[in-house]
Symmetry: C2
Subunit: 346 residues, 2 copies
């Protein structure tokens, strides 16, 4: 065998591995694809030599012919928003485990979808797209995808019509909020709270409206007056300012139900550090998400929780089901919520 010098700084190719192993290039391809027929010892030899040469099949070339890019796109408005970052983290780990890589795209913070961005994303040909963003119509997103069927995270409101039948353009993860919110209201009611305020997120977002409507419905059924809405935008700073303003000029409230945990932190800090009120003695606070910071001692927040692992598993399941059956009508998974009781209520 001749001891050929390899080029110094370019990646090894299947051709080189084949030459070195005295097999055809096709055999190399087969060695890297599990369900192909290849004599075991031959496969072993090829894999050994591949390792020697630091060879990995080129995903782009593979994608071109197989139609699988092994890329999963995630679209988020804010990576550093706390809930999102934890979800991206867990999702990336889970996807990695299944052989996928995460392709991250950021939309503008006004939750609108940029056509340029969608075109770029489509160019990368992701096997699936997970949209945490809500102000884009499924039909728009679908138009911008190739074979991939986008996955939406959906929060069904109690009264809303289920549009799953009429919209088979995307798969869905349904997050049911009723149970968690009902448990929260029951707890507040148990401690004597009647005037409950709702700190909103960005008003147009569906995470916000569905949460608000669910809360209103729950409170009505429990014979409570409708919640006063304090307008926020999911951020700490907005929650802080809105709370200060609300308690200074308005009648105040016995409790605040926040659209998310970060908002709840803003509420708590405003109450304690600006308004001189005590939590939970004077005002009770409930959040939504149960992010990592919620158990930190400064907040110790009572909050409604999605189970992150369950949520990630459901998303991965959706992706795999869809890839195994590209022609299936809109797939769905459903997830529930529950209350985590800590120190900001009673």
């Amino acid at each position: 065998m001749s001891d050929k010098d390899d080029a110094p700084r370019s990646r090894a190719t299947a051709e080189m591995v084949a030459a070195r192993a005295n097999v055809s290039r096709v055999a190399v391809s087969r060695a890297f694809n599990p369900h192909t027929s290849l004599k075991p010892e031959k496969r072993e030899l090829i894999l050994r030599i591949a390792k020697e040469l630091d060879y990995t099949p080129d995903r782009a070339a593979r994608a071109l012919v197989s139609g699988r890019s092994h890329l999963i796109a995630i679209i988020v408005p804010d990576v550093y928003a706390h809930w999102e970052s934890q979800e991206i983290d867990a999702l990336t780990t889970a996807l990695q485990h299944e052989g996928f890589a995460t392709l991250l795209f950021k939309t503008r913070t006004d939750y609108s979808m940029d056509e340029q961005l969608l075109a770029t994303m489509r160019g990368h040909n992701p096997d699936s797209v997970i949209a945490f963003v809500e102000n884009v119509k499924p039909s728009t997103l679908a138009r911008f995808m190739g074979r991939a069927v986008p996955i939406y995270v959906h929060y069904p409101a109690p009264g809303a019509t289920d549009d799953s039948v009429s919209n088979p353009l995307h798969d869905r993860l349904n997050v049911l909020q009723w149970d968690g919110i009902d448990q929260a209201v029951a707890l507040l009611q148990g401690y004597g709270a009647r005037r409950i305020a709702y700190l909103s997120g960005a008003p147009e977002s569906r995470a916000n409206t569905s949460r608000q409507h669910t809360l209103e419905e729950v409170m009505a059924r429990r014979g409570l007056p409708p919640p006063v809405v304090v307008k926020g935008d999911f951020s700490y700073d907005a929650a802080y300012r809105a709370t200060v303003n609300f308690f200074r000029v308005g009648d105040g409230a016995d409790a605040v139900f926040a659209v998310n945990d970060v908002g709840a932190f803003g509420v708590i800090d405003a109450l304690r550090h600006e308004l001189g009120l005590r939590v939970p003695e004077d005002v009770k606070v409930v959040g939504f998400d149960d992010i990592a910071q919620s158990h930190w001692k400064s907040y110790n927040l009572t909050t409604v929780k999605f189970d992150l692992d369950e949520r990630v598993n459901a998303l991965v399941r959706l992706i795999l089901r869809r890839l195994n059956n590209p022609a299936a009508p809109g797939l769905q998974e459903t997830l529930n919520t529950r209350l985590i009781v800590r120190g900001t209520v009673g």
Copy 2:
């Protein structure tokens, strides 16, 4: 012109656009590449028809022939760690602006590098790799890349030998910590603190060791006794436990310098909610990073700051410089730090 029906659910290709526009396929390719010669009106026509057909050039095919994937890989141990998530967020936005997409990879939390992961990453052929992870030798990472030259974030310690010359295998972003740490110590000293403890991160990580050594050096030069090291791991929970333990069994300290802001939060909460000590009256606390939460009222942390935008710009600059000059020796950018004074010192 015949009104051909297009296939319902597969992506448009350059061929189809060419047919519809009565031009060659090559012209379509040229229409999408700025610096090629093509009659302007022809280009315009092609782009218009491309839009009609929802055509975008396939990145995988393009990458195969041009050698540019337009993918930038980022390797992190934790996405949801606060500093990292903010950096990923800003970086993704900036890269998107330059036409790149972010490819996210998560290492194991012990900061070790998985060869399997590296192989997968190499398979995707990223144009560049940014490693926030420290326990992998540059030579290992370089072996796993193709043409791409990895970028390391480096924290030069004051006495450390500069290995930039001997290691041209990677580009570097140097973050100088001296100024910020010196300002912090000066401030603490000004308020009469002498016994300063250091809350460490994962001991083996270079972010930790370099920060610790710089602190030791700064304190020595200012005539202070060396800092007592309290062992943490960058997380809130570890910081909380370590602080409780340290102040219960040891002599305590006048001030704690934490390796990062999240750790500082753990320190503050332990002091206030578990040990009954006041911050800053009894113990002063300084952090490192200036993440978004640091200005929240519950903490209001005095901290050493990298400027995030500067940092992201420097990274993007490194990437572009490298792509314009693949053969250049190890490129570098340098960044400084400074103290942000808030309420946890005096």
